[in-house]
Symmetry: C2
């Protein structure tokens, strides 16, 4: 059975024309023809079984046959905010994997030890769209521009708020897995995630959040958590947090956890 491809057209409910880059992909790469089936999502949860109505030059018009019932496969919101790495490739890779696994939003933080003060979210958006289509999802993660740490922690969020970092305020030094025989005194994120409440996890830069930032976040209701005993790069930590949320909030787990 020939694979039916998924296209992204945010305005599909208003206009039957595919966006230029999507049309180009349909015409020139996939060589679709009039009558060929395709799926079209608006990236906000709607997905339609469609057919190519007409193709000309650079434009492609579709005909909607029916709306598909699409359920998000996780029970509550999965949100991460991350201090971006200097290397954009790592953030693109993270965005691709986060989108495949399933994430509702990715926000970039400007924190004291951030490796970057600005980020071109355009590249991140393209990566998210491509991953959404490849993984047959109907929801594109919302990608937010850089926001300063103090603004982020003051932004209202209805749900669980967590901040991951390496400090143990009970002991004077940062432990590393080679030197510390004391497990982190912070609770393990996985244990705290609620299946049915939205969750937000803050992931710091390689140099970690500053102690002040952690204290301020805690004062704003963020709970300090550990991601486990391993020393993870920023982008790996983000995926680790997303995986934990995916497991706890998975629909198939409604009764067993």
């Amino acid at each position: 059975m020939k694979e039916v491809h998924l296209f992204y057209a945010p305005q599909i409910e208003i206009s039957p024309l595919l966006p230029a880059d999507e049309a180009s992909h349909a015409i020139r790469v996939l060589r679709l023809r009039q009558g060929d089936p395709l799926l079209v999502t608006n990236g906000k949860g709607l997905c339609f079984d469609c057919r190519i109505a007409s193709l000309s030059g650079k434009s492609c018009e579709v005909e909607i046959i029916k709306e598909l019932k699409v359920e998000r496969t996780w029970l509550s919101g999965i949100h991460i905010a991350i201090a971006p790495t200097k290397q954009m490739e790592r953030m693109e890779w993270m965005t691709e994997k986060a989108t495949e696994l399933g994430v509702d939003s990715i926000t970039f933080i400007e924190s004291k030890n951030s490796e970057r003060r600005t980020i071109k979210t355009e590249r991140i958006e393209k990566t998210a769209v491509a991953a959404m289509k490849q993984s047959h999802k109907a929801v594109k993660p919302i990608i937010s521009d850089m926001i300063k740490m103090n603004e982020l922690i003051s932004t209202p969020f209805e749900g669980q708020k967590f901040i991951a970092h390496c400090y143990d305020f009970d002991s004077a030094e940062k432990g590393t897995s080679l030197h510390s025989h004391i497990s982190s005194a912070k609770p393990f994120l996985f244990d705290l995630i609620a299946p049915k409440r939205d969750s937000l996890v803050l992931i710091g830069p390689e140099g970690d959040f500053s102690i002040d930032e952690v204290k301020q976040a805690e004062a704003m209701g963020f709970k300090s958590v550990s991601l486990g005993n391993n020393r993870l790069r920023t982008e790996t930590a983000a995926l680790s947090a997303i995986m934990m949320m995916q497991i706890k909030k998975a629909n198939i787990h409604a009764t067993s956890l």
Copy 2:
């Protein structure tokens, strides 16, 4: 506090000389001097507090001060076998992240729908060593060459054996998250992982294992599992499986799961 770097010297118990590339890194990149502290691991679970004893030209000799007690932070073996992707970059990313998260072995499978029939494990090894050092681990994952599927499933393994794939033998067609309203009939890998028994998970190529391969694996004691409702790329599926094993087998979870 200046960071103490971790070096990889598989023969450290026999010879105090760092391997050539490690020596080069110490001398030319980090510019270490006589008396400077460093950590050295043999990649097989031993790690030593050392000092630079002498440097000359391209060689670097260390003095072992003491052996550090290093505990693996997961309770039982985490093993994956994966049909490698055509793009080596994806396998390198996966190896880096798998090593950061913690994995005991990565084996490459030649399966019916594999995108690759051969793989240069040398590049994968370099990635694993670099990630081991960066993440301050004392154990390097064992990287195994390509092995044919039928040989792999016949190789004795003392522990749990799982095979992840997209078939539901109860229903005729493969479900995708956009079309199928029936959750996979296969059990969820996360639910089956035992904290204290070694576990091996087989991850197929983008085109999945063949039905015959799955049936043969099941006949050899592999349990068919689902990795959840999301459609994951090969390398993402591998990391997802490793994350699940890390959570279930984490030392800090000895009592709570």
